[in-house]
Amino acid sequence: MNLHSSFTYRKVVDRGMALVCALFFALAFIPLLSVLWLVISKGAAGLSWSFFTQLPKPVGEVGGGVGNALLGTLFMVGLACLIGLPLGVGAGVFLAEKGDGTVGRSVRFMAEVLSGVPSIVVGIVAYALVVIPMGHFSAIAGGVALAILMIPTLARATEELVRVVPASLREASLALGVANWRTSIRVVIRTAMSGIVTACLLAVARAAGETAPLLFTALNNQYWNTDPRQPTASLTVAIFNYAISPYDDWHAKAWTAALVLLIVVGLLNIASRVLTRSRLKGAR
């Protein structure tokens, strides 16, 4: 009898807790869904091929696009990747493999502090480091600012990913007579690779969505630009400019540009899924 009642009690608590979890899940989902819904409902109308390929047009003129901003974002994120991915992943691997000494501890501490620095501060730093010496705004400055943002988070993520590779795999490789460094690269990092690729793409997605560090590094540009020394448009700054304008026409464009940015970030996430899918059958 007692056993029965306690069993019923457990079942009730189980159901109750499951319900609470579902409720919180739904609550957490509301902001996400509302963002998607707002951006799609307000931005989808303006989507057209020309929006991706054309330059922005002056106020009042119909049409025009954010082609240069899309290109600029890809260009600067590409630059940031060139600088940030090797440094971030390299630092992470160093921390995981050799990070137990004084150097490792101080690097880890700095990475932790840096990953908490607001992006606008990173923008100021890039302004002082690159814009002032060059004398003008440039894509390089924007790329550097984004790279500085990427490096600390990427380093910490990579370190964690390499550290969770079981020591038994390293031992297995060493027991086969494989040299230490080769074991690190071919077995340990190889095993962590799918996670590292995901971390990289998330860092890239985050960089693509940054506005603050670009405002006074890359500034903006009304025209196509592929010269890294010139000011360059970006989607985020374009959204910012359109959104703060007093024109309804431009507000619509801000929504559409925001949708384009969401699409870019979404594609990056899908790419990370595809890239990290195991090529082996029956892999877990």
Binding site: E171, A172, S173, G177, V187
Partner: protein, 283 residues
């Protein structure tokens, strides 16, 4: 504990029971006065202040199986990991004494532990196939990672057959190594260790994570491998030691208490502590 080291050396002249040892195989040890394939002299292992292995001296003859038994924490694993210098990687670990393989001191200056480990292979307690590699790649890993050429396909098949796994996996060599069952994974790891053609095979409780059927397969395998390899196996199971080994070494609190032919250790041990352990009075 008495401060005097408990040292037991197998008398070199004493014939070792060799079950179905092939006669066409020439003896691998060169000098007649050192017939041991693996010889350990006054081995000490420290983890910082902890003296984990104390003055161990023993020898293993070629193509025999030595079982290392003893209660948990007695240093069995620590001992066999000293035989292929796996302690090099552990911060704070220090090894003193000498370990000879074919008369060559592993801990002498100028010995490259990387090259050494190709001669002394190891199978671990838990199966640890490389998760990013297929079954085929796992077996060939020691060759590809070391840049060793040759007919990999042939070697892989040969090693998988030796590990009694070929028939079970020949149709899915491209599947993930981790897709196999635990017992199959362990045989895969044995095949992987065999592919680099070691002379000595160290097995650290290779069947402890396996069910009885898989364990029986591994033990059968050890019997077959003995014809080519010298094997040192750590085991928790005294029955297993009795089934697979020619000689047994009993470790207790980091010391080698007694070593001798397996039958003698289990039926007529010289030491009281050995008797207590093998009869189940402690451990």
């Amino acid at each position: 504990m008495s401060p005097a080291p408990a040292v037991q050396i197998m008398p070199p002249e004493k014939p070792v029971p060799m079950v179905s040892a092939p006669q066409q195989q020439p003896p691998l040890a060169p000098e007649p006065e050192t017939p041991f394939k693996v010889e350990v002299q006054d081995l000490n292992v420290y983890f910082r202040a902890n003296h984990a292995i104390r003055h161990v001296t023993l020898g293993v003859k070629p193509q025999t199986v030595l079982a290392v038994i003893g209660p948990s924490g007695c240093g069995k694993s620590t001992f066999i990991r000293a035989l292929n210098r796996m302690h090099d990687l552990v911060p704070g670990a220090r090894v003193e004494g000498r370990v000879f393989v074919d008369g060559e001191d592993l801990y002498a200056r100028g010995i490259d532990p990387v090259l050494l480990r190709r001669r002394v292979g190891m199978v671990f307690q838990r199966p640890n196939p490389f998760p990013t590699m297929s079954i085929y790649e796992n077996v060939a890993a020691g060759l590809t990672l070391n840049g060793i050429g040759g007919n990999h396909a042939e070697i892989v098949e040969h090693c998988l057959r030796q590990a009694a796994l070929w028939d079970e996996v020949k149709d899915r060599l491209r599947h993930a190594g981790t897709s196999l069952s635990g017992g199959q994974q362990q045989r895969l790891c044995i095949a992987r260790a065999l592919a680099v053609e070691p002379e000595v095979l160290l097995m650290d409780e290779p069947a402890s994570a396996l069910d009885p059927i898989a364990t029986a397969k591994i033990e059968e395998l050890i019997h077959e491998l003995k014809e080519k390899y010298t094997i040192v196996i750590v085991t928790h199971s005294m029955q297993q030691a009795a089934r697979v080994s020619d000689n047994t070494a009993f470790f207790y609190l980091g010391e080698l208490i007694e070593m001798g032919p397996t039958a003698q250790i289990f039926t007529n041990p010289r030491e009281r502590r050995t008797e207590d352990y093998v009869t189940g009075k402690f451990g």
